[in-house]
């Protein structure tokens, strides 16, 4: 596999972009930062499948494609299976000798938002991972159905306002906890599972490379700050992501072979979650006196999760 050097940004910046501009993602969208980084992390040929969602509707609107690699979108739920089908075809044709360039290195990748990953495409992802196809699934987790205007998903965190779990006079927004997709995918026994964030570009690039290099199905959940639905200024995408990782709202870690947990980023100064919440319009209502208890609950759950992750890491089980 042809890995790009990620020793430093200058080295990394010699990559030749294969994700083109004039796509239709919102200004400041983190999706394309993540996609660019994945594609720049390798020189291998890529076959990319994408679920319906912001990324899909913004990068292949006829008559334009923003992809310089093979790319397919079928439906909302089945990018994992599309990638699996293509991977199966690759194996069959390699065996039969019908590939045009049998020695060309290729990696199979699927992208989905949290809507298609945590919710509607959950079964397709689970099936493809269980079957052991050699592919990497990357969830662009912006914690809501942003493509359709910001409805709740099972990735939406407690207390966030969405159009279908609204904050109002008698509601503080979403009541249910965010689904722990990383744990679920690790429980599949996938060889490499991680949660990564684009502000920590080097950790993310290395994680992508590890996933691409690892044989078998790998899953990566990436935090993708959504300027439109999280309600922050487009220029602040990386700042908000810094807050997400430094408040430990989004801890950065990997799980190898379903059990070996490594924390990949430890903030020097862990910030109180209030700073993260206060920077986004979707949490504005939590600062009303009657909703302060939700902030306390969020902080408590973050602390517990961090404690859990650290103990898992120490235990080396």
């Amino acid at each position: 596999m042809a890995i790009r050097s990620v020793k430093n940004l200058k080295e990394f910046s010699t990559a030749n972009e294969r994700f083109e501009g004039a796509h239709l993602l919102c200004p400041g969208c983190a999706h394309s930062m993540i996609v660019r980084e994945l594609m720049n992390a390798t020189d291998d040929n890529l076959v990319i499948a994408t679920n319906t969602g912001c990324l899909e509707v913004s990068t292949a609107v006829y008559p334009y494609t923003s992809w310089d690699t093979s790319w397919i979108h079928i439906g909302f739920e089945n990018a994992a299976t599309a990638a699996a089908g293509a991977e199966a075809m690759y194996k069959a044709r390699k065996r039969k000798g019908t590939l045009k360039d049998p020695d060309a290195p290729v990696k199979f990748v699927a992208f989905g938002g949290d809507g298609s990953t945590y919710d509607i495409g959950f079964q397709w992802l689970s099936g493809a991972v269980e079957r052991g196809h050699d592919f990497t699934y990357i969830c662009l987790d912006n914690e809501n159905y942003a493509n359709t205007g910001g409805q709740r998903s099972s990735s939406t965190p407690v207390g966030a306002h969405t159009s279908t779990a609204q904050a109002g006079r008698v509601s503080y927004g979403k009541k249910q906890k965010k689904k722990d997709m990383v744990a679920i995918m690790a429980a599949h026994g996938a060889p490499y599972v991680a949660q990564l964030a684009p502000n920590k570009w080097k950790i993310m690039a290395k994680g992508f490379q590890k996933a691409l290099e690892t044989e078998g199905p790998c899953f990566i959940n990436t935090v993708s700050a959504c300027t439109t639905e999280w309600k922050f200024d487009a220029k602040d995408t990386i700042h908000i992501t810094d807050l997400a990782t430094d408040t430990l709202m989004f801890p950065i870690y990997e799980i190898i072979n379903g059990h070996e947990l490594n924390i990949l980023y430890r903030p020097k100064n862990v910030l109180p979650v209030e700073e993260y919440l206060a920077a986004q319009g979707r949490y504005k209502h939590l600062f009303k006196p009657e909703n302060r208890h939700v902030i306390e609950r969020i902080q408590k759950e973050i602390d517990e999760k961090w404690e859990y992750l650290q103990r898992r890491e120490e235990a080396k089980v």
Binding site: A2, L9, K10, E11, F12, S13, T14, A15, N16, E17, R18, F19, E20, G21, A22, H23, L24, L25, P27, G28, C29, A30, H31, S32, M33, R36, E37, T42, D43, D44, N45, T59, A60, Y62, P63, Y64, T65, S66, W67, D68, T69, A104, P198, W201, T227, D233, A234, K235, D236, T237, I238, H239
Partner: protein, 148 residues
Amino acid sequence: MRGVLATDKRGVRELGAEDLVGWDEVTQGVVLNSFDIEVENPAFLRPEERPYSDFNSYTATVASWRVIKPVYNRDICIDCQNCWVWCPDSSIISRDKQMLGIDYDHCKGCGVCVEVCPTNPKSLLMFAEAEEPEEALGKWPEKKKKAK
């Protein structure tokens, strides 16, 4: 900068403003080709070396989305590539580890590049879309002293 800008390669078409397609232009199975002719892996080709097809969004522009734009000041830049790695629109043009400038056909003016620029003063600043880059450079702020 000449030779590396998307503008040099394209008719610069406004997205959504293309002529209505004729019957013959509709591709079978809605398949789009990224390039006009066979290419080696584009990971080994710089954009200026690629035979982009008209279907590639590289040949289109979203410049009209912008109300403010980043202006680049070469004199201060340290080529750290922060702007390159975090640009969501593949609009920071870097070659051989050097930042060359901004692709104004693809830049949407989000301002992320300015936020992540570490120099003092910044090497990228947002200006009104109508502002001429030369004038903008003339208005560049002085180095800020650290607040004590």
